[in-house]
């Protein structure tokens, strides 16, 4: 080992990096970007969960006394940072809000809630107990737990304030996601995420190869148009996306025994449109890279936003409010949402169409931009 030779190699590598301004920028921008996105997006606290309260509590009026409503005290103690509270009178209408995905849960205080609570305190042997019923969408464990915790905290605070020491029950009755576990929440998201990741990166690398090997030039010197190149890629990667999802889904069903209550073909459709969008994104990004090494530098910018903002690993409600609009600029968000709705809630086309429409818009936009980027290369 000779020091001068080691230094010669080291200097050469440094020079290589410094000469490539893009690599240099990426070298410092990528970690800053990663740190910021992780730090900002990964707060872990769920906020702004929509819930509907149906308060049927008639209260309790002691002889010669004023009527007490424990339910109102509990409601006033609910954490409004966590829960966006709406009130309704009709349980069925409130349940419909959950079924339509407009709200995450209905919190029901039955008619005799306060009466049962106070009677039980006075006469522990009476056997009557008060319960709060939460009927909700239990497909996202973080949200389910956030609602339960918020209600339990408010309950504890009320009991100590009002001197109620009888057991108050919180009963969870899932409208969606009966027996759902984290893996059931995770799998639909990971299907979309894997397709997004692999398709974008594979197209990016493949297309940079097309540009550097001269094959793209040769093809564009033939009757093949830019639109035909992009469409040909779209068909291939759309099909590959569906095959990927099928394999993953079979493993998830056989090995992890996940819940699938809906028509998986709709999930396949969402993922296929996502794959088409992603291959167009890959082609678009490839126009910014002159060499395969430069393409690799795009990985953090492709992976991190989807990882953190698309709701794969935690719900969008766990992202800071100001950052949430960015979630809707990341195509996998819609595919994750659609796959989850189909597989865990059994939703059909009539309910997941907004997600599919958003994916189609992204696909058309990115396909158009990919064609434009190829045409621009001729200028």
């Amino acid at each position: 080992m000779k020091f001068y030779r080691i230094m010669a190699v080291s200097r050469r590598v440094f020079r290589d990096v410094v000469n490539d301004k893009r690599s240099l920028a990426m070298l410092f921008l990528a970690p800053i970007f990663a740190m910021c996105v992780f730090g900002l997006a990964f707060s872990g606290d769920v906020e702004d969960v929509n819930v509907v309260i149906v308060n049927q509590d008639q209260g309790y009026t002691p002889p010669l006394g004023n009527t007490t409503y424990l339910s109102q005290t509990i409601i006033s103690h609910l954490d409004t940072k966590v829960l966006n509270i709406q009130t309704m009178d009709n349980v069925e209408q409130a349940r419909q809000q959950v079924m339509d995905g407009k709200t995450s849960a209905v919190i029901i205080f039955p008619e005799n809630f306060t009466q049962n609570a106070i009677m039980a305190t006075k006469n522990a042997s009476a056997g009557s107990s008060a319960e709060i019923i939460i009927q909700g969408d239990d497909t996202i464990p973080n949200i389910k737990n956030a609602i339960l915790k918020s209600v339990s905290d408010a309950l504890t605070e009320t009991m100590s304030e009002e001197g109620v020491n009888s057991p108050l029950k919180v009963t969870s009755e899932p409208i969606y996601g009966q027996d759902a576990e984290f893996i059931d929440f995770f799998v639909p998201g990971i299907l979309a995420f894997v397709v997004y990741l692999l398709t974008t990166i594979l197209t990016l690398i493949t297309f940079v190869g097309e540009r550097t090997s001269g094959t793209l030039e040769r093809v564009l010197a033939s009757p093949v148009t830019e639109g035909e190149v992009v469409t040909g890629y779209a068909i291939t990667f759309g099909t590959l996306g569906v095959i990927q999802v099928t394999i993953l889904l079979v493993i998830a069903l056989v090995v992890f025994n996940i819940i699938v209550v809906g028509n998986v073909l709709l999930a396949f459709l969402a993922v296929a449109i996502l794959a088409v969008t992603c291959q167009a994104l890959g082609i678009l990004l490839s126009s910014l890279a002159k060499r395969p090494e430069q393409a690799i530098q795009f990985f953090p910018f492709v992976v991190l936003p989807a990882f953190l903002l698309s709701g794969v690993f935690w719900p969008i409600q766990a992202i800071p409010e100001w950052l949430r609009p960015f979630s809707y600029l990341v195509p996998p968000t819609y595919a994750v949402d659609a796959c989850r709705a189909v597989m865990l809630k059994g939703w059909g086309l009539e309910k997941i169409w907004p997600d599919l429409a958003a994916l189609v818009i992204f696909a058309v936009l990115f396909l158009g931009l990919a064609v434009w980027s190829l045409k621009r290369g001729k200028k």
Partner: protein, 250 residues
Amino acid sequence: MNQQSELAIETRGLSKQYGNFTAVNHLDLKVKKGEIYGLLGPNGAGKTTLIKMLCSILHSTRGKARVLGEEIPDGNVVSSIGYMPQETGVYMGLTVDQNLKFYGRVFNLDKEEMEKREDELLKFVALEDWKHEMVENLSGGMKHRVSLACTLIHQPELLFLDEPTVGVDPELRVSFWNYFYQLRQKGVTILLTTHYMDEARNCDRIGFMQHGHLIAEDTPSKLLEESRTDSLEDAFLVFSRSDKKSGDGC
């Protein structure tokens, strides 16, 4: 027959500008049908840029060009041209057969015609035994042979060959040229770039390119005569100096 119908390529004041850099500068070029025309010049002279513009891969900044009688860029004319890029321009992850079939399909060849053409071309480039081999496993010279075969699969009327014989051994280079002559006999026009001066002598006409324009153009023998040299390399240097002087004079 009018002059235009005799010309395979005609450019007038063709220019390509990249920011402040002029790759092709007001170039006038005429290549007759059935001619083998060689473009010679140092790296960066604009030869490849010119070929790319003529193949409609690049748009010109100024000037006009006609290829096979059609003003370019034109979507129809590309069916009649064959382009062999400087890089091999073949898919490394496909076999020789798959590459040829891909380019055959692009030009809408039917199955029977494709098989016939493929057999002919593989015989010509001496790759019959490598038909089902992945291109990435072939040597550099073999990859060039695959590239040439892909260029010829649809029997184009006009060939643009960007350094077609780089990395090809001398024996095969001779067979390439024999094939080019056969193509010329069939009326195919060939515009090629090369760095091999001995090879350039095989062209019907040669254009010396420097700084994006032609500094001299004629048959090899006339260029040698005019420059009073006995090698094209020396001839290029003579014309290059004289172009520089006339440029300085301006």
